[in-house]
C-alpha cells in the first residue's frame, strides 16, 4: 500500500473521530434548543468565545469516552519497521496506516494521543474538584472567623505557594519518597476533606430535621468512608487498612501520587480565593440577617456565603482544570510519577523531544492536543466570566 498524502491523512483522522462528531452535534443541538431554560450553561451559547471553548473541551471529553473505538492500533504495540516513520506511512503487512506516524519505538502516535486523553480527562477535573473541596473547607472558616485561625492557615498556604512547583514535584514524586509512604499519608489527609465537606454541608442544612439528617449523614459516612478507605489503602504498602476483598477502588500507586501532588499544589490557591471572597461577602446584609436570625456559623458559610461566591469559583474551576492539565504534562515531561510507557501527553512529549529536530511528529501531536484542551478551558472560562458578569 502507498503512503497517504496530507489531505488523505486529514480526512482519515477526521473520519476516525466520527463518534465524537455525532456526540458533539447531539449535545449542541439539544442544548441550543433548550438554552433559555438552562441558566448560565444555556447563556454560554450567546458568546462565540465560550461556545468555541466548550466545543474544544467536549471534543476531548468525548474522545476520552470513545477512545477505544477511535484508536486504530494497540497503545503499546511496537512495529520495528515503523520507528520514527512519517505520518501516513502504510504498515509493512499492508493492513493499514499509522495515521500520524510512528514514535521512537514504532508505536502509533495517533492511538497513543487518543488513549492519553483518557488519563488527562480522568485525572485533571477530579484533582481540581478535590483541590476545591480542600480550599473551600479551609477557606470559608479562615475568612469568616478571621483571627488566629486565619493567620495560621494563611501562613501554611503561603508556605506551600512559596515553593516552586517543580521542586515540590521533585521532592514528592520520587521513588525514595514513595517508599516512605509519605504521599499516602498526604492522601489520607487530603482525601478526608471531601468527606468532611459533605457531612458538614448536609448537617448544616438539615440540622432542624434530625431524622432526615441522620439518614443522609449516615449514608455519606458509610459510602464515602468506604470509598475513602479503599482509595487510600493499597495492599502491600505501608497504608493497608482494608483487606484485599473489601478494597473496592484500586488506584495504581503512581497515579495516586500524581493525583495527590496535583491536589496539594492547587489547594492553597483555591484557599486564598475562597478566603478573599468570604471576607468580601460576609459584610453583606443577608449575612447579617442570617446572623440575627440565629443561624449557626457553618450554615451561614455553606448556604449563604458559598452560593453567592459561585460565579468567580466556577470560572476559576475551568481555568484550574487547564492549569492542572499543564501540571500533569509537566510531571510527564520530567518523567515523574507516571510510567514511561504511559500514553499521557506529558510523557509522550518527553519521549519525543530527544529526536525533535529529526522526527518532530511524536512530540508535536500530543503537544497540540494538550494546547487545544487548555485553550478550550481558558476560552470556556472567559465566556462564562463574560456571561456571568452580564447579570
Amino acid at each position: 500500500m502507498d503512503a497517504l498524502g496530507w489531505g488523505a491523512i486529514l480526512l482519515a483522522v477526521l473520519g476516525r473521530f466520527w463518534p465524537v462528531w455525532i456526540a458533539l452535534a447531539v449535545t449542541f443541538a439539544v442544548s441550543a434548543r433548550f438554552r433559555r431554560r438552562l441558566g448560565l450553561y444555556g447563556r454560554l451559547y450567546d458568546s462565540t468565545i465560550g461556545m468555541a471553548g466548550f466545543a474544544l473541551v467536549m471534543f476531548w471529553v468525548y474522545t476520552a469516552v470513545f477512545a477505544g473505538g477511535i484508536a486504530t492500533h494497540d497503545v503499546l504495540g511496537q512495529i520495528s519497521q515503523m520507528k520514527n516513520e512519517m505520518p501516513g506511512t502504510a504498515l509493512p503487512d499492508g493492513s493499514g496506516w499509522y495515521l500520524l506516524g510512528g514514535d521512537h519505538l514504532g508505536r502509533d502516535v495517533f492511538s497513543r494521543v487518543v488513549a492519553g486523553s483518557r488519563i488527562v480527562i480522568a485525572i485533571a477535573p477530579l484533582a481540581t474538584l478535590f483541590a476545591f473541596m480542600v480550599g473551600i473547607t479551609l477557606g470559608l472558616p479562615a475568612g469568616y472567623y478571621g483571627g488566629r485561625l486565619d493567620t495560621v492557615l494563611s501562613f501554611l498556604a503561603n508556605l506551600i505557594l512559596a515553593f516552586p512547583v517543580i521542586l515540590l514535584f521533585y521532592l514528592l514524586v520520587t521513588p525514595e519518597i514513595v517508599r516512605t509512604g509519605l504521599p499516602q499519608y498526604l492522601a489520607i489527609v487530603l482525601f478526608l476533606f471531601p468527606l468532611v465537606f459533605l457531612v458538614v454541608l448536609l448537617n448544616a442544612r438539615y440540622h432542624v430535621q434530625p431524622t432526615r439528617r441522620n439518614v443522609m449523614v449516615a449514608a455519606v459516612v458509610l459510602l464515602g468512608g468506604w470509598a475513602y478507605l479503599s482509595l487510600v489503602s493499597a495492599p502491600g504498602t505501608r497504608v493497608a487498612i482494608l483487606p484485599q476483598p473489601v478494597d473496592l477502588i484500586d488506584v495504581p500507586p503512581n497515579i495516586l501520587i500524581v493525583f495527590v501532588s496535583v491536589v496539594f499544589v492547587n489547594a492553597p490557591t483555591v484557599f486564598r480565593i475562597v478566603r478573599g471572597l468570604t471576607l468580601d461577602i460576609k459584610t453583606r446584609d443577608y449575612v447579617a440577617a442570617a446572623q440575627t436570625r440565629g443561624e449557626r456559623p457553618w450554615y451561614i458559610m455553606l448556604w449563604e456565603i458559598l452560593p453567592n461566591a459561585r460565579g468567580p469559583l466556577i470560572v476559576d474551576f475551568c481555568l484550574r482544570i487547564g492549569y492542572t492539565t499543564i501540571l500533569l504534562g509537566t510531571l510527564g515531561f520530567f518523567g515523574l510519577g507516571l510510567s514511561p510507557e504511559s500514553p499521557d501527553w506529558g510523557s509522550t512529549i518527553n519521549a519525543g523531544r530527544r529526536l525533535l529536530t529529526i522526527a518532530p511528529h511524536p512530540a508535536i501531536v500530543p503537544a497540540l492536543a494538550l494546547m487545544s484542551l487548555v485553550l478550550g478551558l481558558n476560552l470556556l472560562a472567559d465566556g462564562l466570566r463574560e456571561e456571568s458578569l452580564r447579570d
Binding site: A162, P164, I166, L167, G352, L356, T357, P360, V374
Partner: protein, 347 residues
C-alpha cells in the same frame, strides 16, 4: 511603613526557615541517605555497612541537629577514631584544631556537591549567572511586548483589535513551555519543516550567545508570561479608560492619542507592575522546563540534575535560592505597589 517592612521581613525569614526545614527533611529521608551511602561507598555494600557509613559521616543523628549544622547554628560534628579526628567542618588533610567550629549556610559554606564534585556555592554561582543572562533577555522581550499588547487591546474595549489581541493572549497562556518549545523547535529548527532559522539547542549559548542559538529559548520562556501580563494590563487599561478624568480629557478636546499616552498609561501601569514581579516564581518554572528542553546548563538544569542524582547539598542550595527569589519578589511587589499607588496606606 517601617513597621510594615519589619513585619514582612520577620515573616519572610520565618517562611524561609520553615521551607528549608521541610526541604531538608524531604531530602534527608532514610531512603535518600541509603542511596547516598551506596553511591559514595559502593553499590554492593550490606545494610550494616550502610549503617556504619551513615554513622561515620554524621548522618545518623537527630534531624534537627543535622539541620542546625547545615544552617550553621549548631557546631559541626567531630569524631575521633584511632587518633584521627574527622568532622563536618574539617577538610581532608586539614589540622582539626584549625578548622572552624561552625560551617553552614550562614557562614557561607553550602557544602560539597556529590554529583559535580565541586563546592555547591561555586557551582550555583556559575549556573545562576547563566540563568541570569537568560532572564535578562526574557524580561527585555516579555515586558515591553506584553505591555504594548495589553494597552493596545484595552484602549478600545470590544474592538476588532481587542478581540484579536485578547485571543492571542489567551492562546499563549494556554501554551506551557514544553508545548511552545516543542512547536518552536519543530517549526524553526527541524529538518522536517526545513526552515532551520535557529538552532534547536542552546548549549552553544553558554559560551557565546548569538541570535540564532539563544532566541528560541528566550521566546519560549517569554511567551507563557506575555499572555498573562497582557491580560492584566488590558483589564487595568479598560478600567482606567472608563474613568471620569479620561472622559473629561476627551471632552476638553485632547486627542485620543494624547489621552492614552499622557493620561491613561501611567495609571494603567500600576497593576501590571505587581503582576510582573509575581511572574518571577512562574518564570522559574519555565526556566527549569526550557533549560531542560534546550539543554542550556543554567539554574533549572542544575536543579533537575541535583534532584535526579540525589545530590542532597546541591538540591538544598537550589531550594534556598528558589525560595529566596519567590519571597524577595513578593516583598518587592508589595513595597513597589505602595510607592506607585499613593492611595494605598499600610497600617
Amino acid at each position: 511603613m517601617l513597621a510594615f517592612l519589619l513585619r514582612r521581613l520577620v515573616a519572610m525569614v520565618l517562611t524561609a526557615l520553615c521551607l528549608s526545614l521541610v526541604v531538608f527533611y524531604l531530602t534527608n529521608l532514610p531512603p535518600n541517605l541509603e542511596k547516598l551511602a551506596k553511591s559514595e561507598a559502593g553499590s554492593r555494600i550490606t545494610d550494616a555497612e550502610v549503617e556504619s557509613w551513615l554513622e561515620k559521616n554524621g548522618h545518623a543523628r537527630p534531624l534537627v541537629v543535622r539541620y542546625g549544622e547545615w544552617l550553621g547554628a549548631v557546631p559541626g560534628w567531630t569524631r575521633e577514631e584511632g587518633g584521627v579526628t574527622t568532622g563536618r567542618c574539617i577538610r581532608r588533610g586539614q589540622d582539626p584544631a584549625a578548622a572552624p567550629r561552625f560551617c553552614g549556610v550562614l557562614q557561607g559554606d553550602w557544602g560539597y556537591s556529590s554529583f559535580f564534585k565541586a563546592p555547591v556555592a561555586e557551582k550555583l554561582g556559575y549556573h545562576l549567572g547563566l540563568t541570569g543572562i537568560l532572564m535578562f533577555w526574557v524580561m527585555l522581550l516579555m515586558v515591553p511586548l506584553s505591555l504594548l499588547i495589553g494597552i493596545l487591546a484595552g484602549m478600545r474595549e470590544g474592538s476588532k483589535l481587542d478581540r484579536t489581541l485578547s485571543t492571542f493572549s489567551i492562546a499563549t497562556t494556554a501554551t506551557p513551555e514544553y508545548v511552545s518549545g516543542v512547536i518552536l523547535i519543530a517549526v524553526f529548527a527541524s529538518s522536517m519543516v526545513g526552515l532551520k532559522w535557529f538552532k534547536g539547542t542552546a548549549t552553544g549559548a553558554m559560551e557565546h550567545a548569538t541570535f540564532d542559538n539563544f532566541f528560541l529559548p528566550v521566546l519560549t520562556v517569554a511567551l507563557y508570561g506575555i499572555g498573562y501580563i497582557a491580560r492584566m494590563t488590558r483589564a487595568s487599561m479598560t478600567e482606567v479608560m472608563t474613568a471620569q478624568y479620561i472622559r473629561t480629557a476627551r471632552l476638553k478636546g485632547v486627542s485620543f492619542r494624547n489621552v492614552v499616552l499622557r493620561h491613561a498609561l501611567r495609571n494603567a501601569l500600576i497593576a501590571p507592575f505587581t503582576v510582573i514581579m509575581l511572574q518571577f516564581p512562574w518564570l522559574l518554572n519555565g526556566v527549569v522546563i526550557t533549560e531542560t528542553l534546550f539543554s542550556y546548563k543554567g539554574f533549572g538544569w542544575t536543579l533537575v540534575q541535583a534532584a535526579g542524582n540525589n545530590d542532597i547539598p546541591l538540591l538544598l542550595g537550589c531550594s534556598v535560592v528558589a525560595v529566596f527569589v519567590v519571597l524577595v519578589t513578593q516583598l518587592i511587589s508589595d513595597v513597589g505597589y505602595v510607592f506607585l499607588n499613593p492611595r494605598i496606606r499600610i497600617s
